[in-house]
């Protein structure tokens, strides 16, 4: 990776452009991301993989401004992300985010979870919001759970509601932060199937995941990270079958052998 400053590129057709991203925590003592450049073209699926603590989630959280970069620039859909809250709210409306812990709102039903942002942010009337919400629940395969509260749903169902909640805002880009890591093994597939269907529909996605099978099947690009830097990136076939870097090989040996 080139170090130091680069000329800032003009916004391209990419959904996301990240240049020279550095993110430090604890007054610079912890360097979570240490100079990352990444491009996510429209309709592509980028899988971020790597050992825990390698900075994948932090990169993802910088894309919708849940973390503000310490250095470098992030463009989302042609807009430079800054710490200004009006910019952030506008960008976040167009970027869906799915969390490891689902983060459904426990005091609202599945339907209300989905309609909340449409009604508060988009100012849609109740009927229109509910119609969209039901369509999205149908899309993730659980239309019958509209009136259920999160605590009445299994982990897999909760995560599918969370995906529907993001989809209902018609995002141009979806971010997934280890969406299956908190699930019991038997529920992982129902969530991955929804994500695969999304990818086939042409949704632009950035996915932090430990599911190598999913990365191989759905990703257009696999990005391997370690210690806050990108070790190597390329099409899944190349990365999984003939990795160039020793660190990539070591990582896959650990992941695939248990």
């Amino acid at each position: 990776m080139p170090d130091g400053y680069r000329l800032q590129s003009p916004p391209g057709p990419e959904a996301v452009i990240i240049e020279g991203l550095v993110k430090t925590f604890d007054h610079g003592k912890i360097r979570a991301v240490d100079g990352v450049d990444l491009r996510v073209p429209m309709r592509n699926v980028v899988a971020l993989v790597g050992p825990s603590g390698s900075g994948k989630s932090t990169v993802l959280r910088c894309i919708n401004g849940l973390e503000i970069p310490s250095r470098g620039s992030v463009w989302v859909d042609g807009r430079l992300l800054t710490a200004k809250s009006s910019d952030l709210d506008a960008i976040r409306e167009e970027v869906g985010m799915v969390f490891q812990q689902f983060n459904l709102f426990p005091h609202l039903t599945a339907l209300e979870n989905i309609t909340l942002a449409q009604r508060v942010v988009r100012k849609w009337p109740k009927d229109k919001a509910e119609e969209t919400a039901r369509a999205q629940l149908e899309r993730v395969g659980i239309p019958e759970k509209a009136e259920s509260y999160p605590r009445e749903l299994s982990g897999g169902q909760q995560q599918r509601v969370a995906i529907a909640r993001s989809l209902a805002m018609s995002p141009k880009l979806m971010l997934f932060d280890e969406p299956t890591s908190a699930l019991d093994p038997e529920m992982i597939n129902e969530v991955l199937e929804v994500m695969l269907a999304l990818a086939e529909d042409g949704m632009t996605m950035v996915v932090v995941t430990h599911e190598m099978g999913f990365a191989r099947a759905a990703a257009s690009t696999v990005v391997v990270m370690d210690q806050g830097r990108i070790v190597e990136q390329g099409p899944p076939k190349q990365i999984f079958d003939s990795p160039r870097e020793e660190r990539t090989r070591q990582f896959f040996e650990k992941v695939l052998h248990h």
Binding site: S85, E93, G96, F105, V120, M169
Partner: protein, 273 residues
């Protein structure tokens, strides 16, 4: 895939015990304390109804009841507003706002309630009337008392609100912000509804505490229950009937509030001893 949801639903229904077991007598969990307090109240009530001395004490103290309740409700209403504002200020990222809130909270928590009540009535309100140019005498002592209670309990409730807001996982506000809600919308629609649910037991405890602390307003000469008792006993030296009736009033009210609170905690599914 369809079997998964079904299985966990079945487990959930099994968690509810059958009706017969829910109402079975349980010697370990039986509320003996409640029986003891109810017996004490019944004994006091019996004295009030059958004994002239106690009956007279009751009639003399009872006029203070509405003032006690009014002062508590008014004070608590304002305290909730002040508490919410100070609690939000306490966790604000703005250094000035945060320090203003902490200064207020620590000041109030560091001075006895009795001192603060007199200080509000005799120092703060007159000083404010000088500074803001309204006539000091237009603020009657009931309002001085209500302001004092609101300022004191606002600081206590600020900590309750802070803890309640911090009890909501950060993932909740991150999810809200990720959906495009502003910080204020996230607070109002997502964080506060959950926080209030978590805070209700603590708020209820503070309401009970304020009801009892309203007795301190007697130092201002406000004719609430304690003041009426003071007037009655100093004129008649009937200390035993006076204080017993006074206790009867407070204990009845706090017991009702406490039982309501327990019922609500049970409704929320919080364990109770």
């Amino acid at each position: 895939m369809p079997g998964v949801g079904g299985a966990s639903e079945a487990e959930r229904t099994n968690l509810d015990p059958p009706m017969s077991e829910r109402f079975r007598f349980n010697a370990r969990d039986f509320p003996y304390w409640l029986v003891a307090i109810l017996l004490a109240l019944a004994w006091m009530g019996y004295l009030i109804l059958t004994n002239d001395q106690y009956g007279t004490a009751f009639d003399r103290i009872e006029p203070g009841l509405t003032t006690t309740i009014r002062a508590t409700i008014t004070g608590f209403g304002f305290a909730l507003v002040i508490g919410l504002i100070a609690g939000l200020g306490r966790i604000s990222k703005n250094v000035v706002v945060r320090n203003l809130a902490i200064t207020y909270i620590e000041f109030v928590r560091g001075v006895p309630i009795l001192v603060l009540i007199s200080m509000t009535a005799f120092v703060i309100v007159p000083q404010l009337s000088d500074a803001l140019g309204f006539d000091n005498s237009t603020v009657d002592f009931f309002w001085r008392a209500a302001i004092a209670l609101a300022l004191i309990y606002g600081a206590y409730l600020a900590e309750v609100f802070r803890a309640g807001i911090e009890s909501v996982p950060t993932g909740q506000s991150e999810a809200g912000r990720s959906l495009g809600l502003s910080a204020g919308q996230t607070m109002r629609k997502i964080v506060l509804p959950q926080a209030v649910r978590n805070m209700t037991p603590a708020i209820g405890n503070d309401l009970i505490a304020m009801l009892k602390d309203s007795s301190l307003l007697s130092v201002l000469g406000i004719r609430e229950l304690t003041q009426e008792n003071k007037i009655y006993t100093s004129a008649t030296f009937q200390y035993k009937p006076g204080y017993l009736v006074l206790t009867f009033f407070y204990l009845t009210m706090t017991l009702i509030l406490s039982l309501l609170l327990r019922a609500y905690r049970k409704y929320l599914g919080l364990t109770d001893a």
